[in-house]
Amino acid sequence: MALLEVRNLNKIYEIGIFRKKYIHAVKNVSFSIKEGEIVSLVGESGSGKTTTAKIILGLLKPTSGEILFEGKNLQEYFTNIDTIRELRRKVHAVFQDPFASYNPFYPIDRVLHQAIRLIGFDPASPEAKELMEEALRNVGLDPKSILGKYPHQLSGGEKQRIMVARCWLLMPKLIVADEPVSMIDASTRGGVIKLFEKLRKVQNTSILFITHDMGLAYYISDKILIMYLGELVEEGTPDEILSNPKHDYTKRLIESIPTLYKKWEDLEKIKV
């Protein structure tokens, strides 16, 4: 059984009372994620991938379609306080902007405290402290130099690591990672990616990895979904997609990405 199953998901935004405008952001999207699987959802901005993520996280209501998590319908089952808490423990997220992920008014401890409370501990208790420190060490951070600081005192990479530490505390079944590394420096990016891999390895967490970067998707995923103008246009393993793209859009995408080890000129020469 798939951990998460998305069936015929649609999202239409309506704007205005007098002059209604409709934006069909997500069109008939269906896919599934197995336990322990890393699935990438690839598309350019405006392709509907973030909307899909928000719907899965329960931050947005779909116009139609259903989402099954552990076989339970998201819209129907997770409706009361207890089940919502359950869902929050089991499905969590890391977002793109490490700066916007922290409320500037609070020390960064807050995001960890929130997780601690969610798993039923008092953030002030020694056990909680222990857990937090362990989680921070797990993401390669020194608890002493991190705790009590305000967001603007840390770098983007550190902030994203703390976000992963938060997931570490929660041990969710599924992490929706929406462009988690696109806003951090290239030299530190690898570290965060490795943390996701570690999370999957240690906790068998499934990850829905949302990105515009084909290279990243190719590197990290078990399965890649290509999204274009709200629709899922192609699905396959990274190697399948890279070597044998079927949809025009995928082809164009792969052709256009700058590569490190081959030069376009050379590639074009080979084709000719």
Partner: protein
Amino acid sequence: MGETILELRDTKAYYIIEKNFVRAVDGVSLEIKDEIIGIVGESGSGKSTLSNVMLMSIKRPLTFMGGSVKLYTNGNELELTNINREELQKKIWGRETSIIPQSAMNALMPTKRIRSYILDVMKSHFEEIDEKEIIEKAINRFEEIGISGEFINRYPFELSGGMKQRAVIAVATLLNPRLLIADEPTSALDVATQKMVLKTIKELKDKKIVKSIVFITHDIATVRQIADKMVVMYAGKIIEEGTTDEMVSEPLHPYTKGLLFSVVTPEPEVKRRGITYIPGTPPDLINPPPGCRFHPRCPERMEICDKEEPLLKNINQRRVACFLYEKR
């Protein structure tokens, strides 16, 4: 490799913010020849500031702290640091040097038709102009670059992103400048358009519209596709310089290595190679670490590293600033 177009010698430019010096460009020497040169660095490495230094476009809080910037124009040698901003604007910028700005999307005056903007640019440089001739030339340039000459009659907001970017390129190169600086010109575009624009930039050189291009980016893969030569910056300094091919196949500086191996592209080589990262965070440019600025993050750190500053030394055709190679 051809004539020298621009020469920087030990240039320093700091941002002065609340009495603190942010050493964004700290002793950079560089020769730009008849080539496409890619400057690579992470955010905060000083690469964009360097582009301003190349043009001597210094505006508070950025302050030029020393060094020399020489521009060679058909036999003349101009020391840009001795020319005031007004003169630069009048005689150098747009004529000898030009730029494609970071966010080219909003680079064109939004409430003017491109045609009228072009005329303004021309009027700024020449006392008398023949409007018809200029428009004709401009239309030609547009078409050379691969967009319809009719777009000249439009407002910028009437063009799509890729078109707008190319219109900017066309306007920037109207006077066939010798040096073109492109500062992350593709970062806001989708991948397909990115490729198109990159090709356009490369063609500028191929069609001899400009002599040399400085391409500034954080993305090594892009540089790889376009540049002949690559310069890597870290914390306000150049730490390595060489031809693109060599740099990619055999990086010398530990930072270059780290950067290169943290790049993921959809290539089987990447999967084989794996992904690495550089621990720690880029240094604070107000109080940079002593010695080699990379030493706190360097996996091959030696004793000397936090005491002395490694100089940029020539090694074969390349230059690198690292004690690893000094000892050799």
